[in-house]
């Protein structure tokens, strides 16, 4: 239960990094999204239900056999989302190799021009 919750949260955080989150500065070095009215965090209604699976192997390096799990979702989700967007663009005929995160709608639009 704890591990599943951590995976859900981690996946959400990673998707936030891939699609929404970024500190934006203007030419004077002023942070332009300094409040949550402007800085976009992922929210529950941005996500479908999660299904998680796990491959359980004991860790040989400590007597309890335990290992960390919290970051697993965060590490996997950004490349999964970015690759999915690139794949969608390729199948639509746009030979785009890379888009900088976060993949805002404008960045994706520009990549398609």
């Amino acid at each position: 239960m704890i591990v599943e919750g951590q995976i859900h949260g981690g996946v959400a955080q990673g998707v936030g990094q891939a699609l929404f989150e970024g500190a934006e500065y203007d030419e004077n070095g002023q942070l332009t999204n300094a409040s949550y009215m402007d800085y976009c965090m992922p929210r529950a209604d941005d996500f479908p239900m999660f299904e998680t699976g796990s491959q359980v192997t004991p860790c040989p390096h400590n007597p309890l056999g335990v290992k960390g799990a919290g970051e697993a979702g965060t590490i996997g989700s950004p490349p999964a989302v970015v690759n999915a967007v690139l794949d969608a663009l390729w199948s639509g005929g746009h030979k785009v190799k890379d888009i900088r995160m976060p993949l805002t709608s404008e960045r994706v639009w520009r990549a398609m021009q």
């Binding site: 929404f20 934006e24 999204n33």
Partner: protein, 277 residues
């Protein structure tokens, strides 16, 4: 994030509110969802807040003498769920249900949104497209301001000091009128990056209004001229999109540059016209 100190007065009637406002630096408090954040950032420092949320006459939505009358104190949620609005002005219900989140919709009011005149607010486009009049009351009595004369710039309106918006009056649209509101939301706040409101009457007259695009919401007469009185087809939709947002200053921010916003305005106009075709 802590406002400067201020006095607070809760009033029960519009007359009481107008009297309370005669103090120079006092401000009306309605839902507080625009005013309080501005006070916390100290962008606004009123010495007194006059809370109008308990004025019964500002609540309610009714049909009267050929007009739909929405009290200035009606919340976004009140309007989104209202039967009369859903049947006669469906785009008002759609637009209201897209504002912010549940807390904002349960507290924020149509009157507060219009008075605040945020360039990205939804109501301005909707009242413009619906040929609404804004009914206001001050120490000299009541007057009506046409929506097209109400928005004068960034966060500015033709409302005078000490005037209170009391109602929004919309002529009941003829049977067969079609409406649509199409919005591209800013992902964090959900304000409109672009919002396009369209009302098409049975005789083909078509009202088109945009919000989010420029300093204040506006009616797009160039785009209206292309489709008004004509059949809506793929060709006329494309021509209207081409004519749209031509002679306005277009906003730019980190969510949408000028070029992208202009593109979005045309796309959202197309969606709205398709919906009323």
């Amino acid at each position: 994030m802590i406002p400067v100190s201020f006095d607070y007065q809760k009033v029960k009637t519009v007359d009481e509110a107008i009297a309370a406002l005669s103090n120079d630096n006092s401000k009306i408090l309605a839902g507080g969802h625009s005013l309080l954040p501005a006070m916390k950032l100290r962008l606004s420092q009123p010495s007194k807040l006059v809370d109008i949320a308990a004025i019964a006459s500002l609540k309610g939505i009714k049909e009267e003498d050929g007009e739909i009358v929405i009290g200035a104190g009606a919340t976004h949620a009140d309007i989104a769920g209202d039967k009369l609005i859903k049947s006669k002005l469906p785009f008002f219900a759609e637009g209201a249900s897209m504002i912010g989140d549940v807390q904002v919709r349960n507290h924020g009011t149509i009157g507060g949104s219009l008075a605040h005149a945020d360039p990205a607010a939804d109501w301005p486009a909707l009242v413009l497209a619906a040929d609404a009049a804004i009914e206001v009351q001050g120490s000299n009595g009541k007057r009506r301001i046409k929506a097209t004369d109400f928005f004068t710039g960034l966060f500015s309106t033709s409302l005078q000091d000490n005037e209170i918006i009391v109602a929004i009056r919309i002529p009941v649209p003829a049977q067969g009128t079609k409406t649509s509101y199409q919005k591209f939301s800013q992902p964090a706040s959900r304000f409109a990056i672009v919002g396009c409101a369209v009302m098409r009457f049975p005789d083909g007259k078509t009202n088109i209004a945009f919000t989010g695009v420029s300093d204040n919401a506006f009616r797009d007469s160039n785009a209206e001229a292309v489709v008004s009185g004509k059949v809506i087809s793929n060709d006329s939709i494309a021509a209207a999109a081409k004519a749209a947002v031509q002679s306005v200053n277009i906003l730019s921010d980190h969510y949408a540059s000028e070029e992208y916003r202009k593109h979005l305005a045309k796309v959202y106009l197309k969606k709205a016209l398709q919906a009323v075709a």
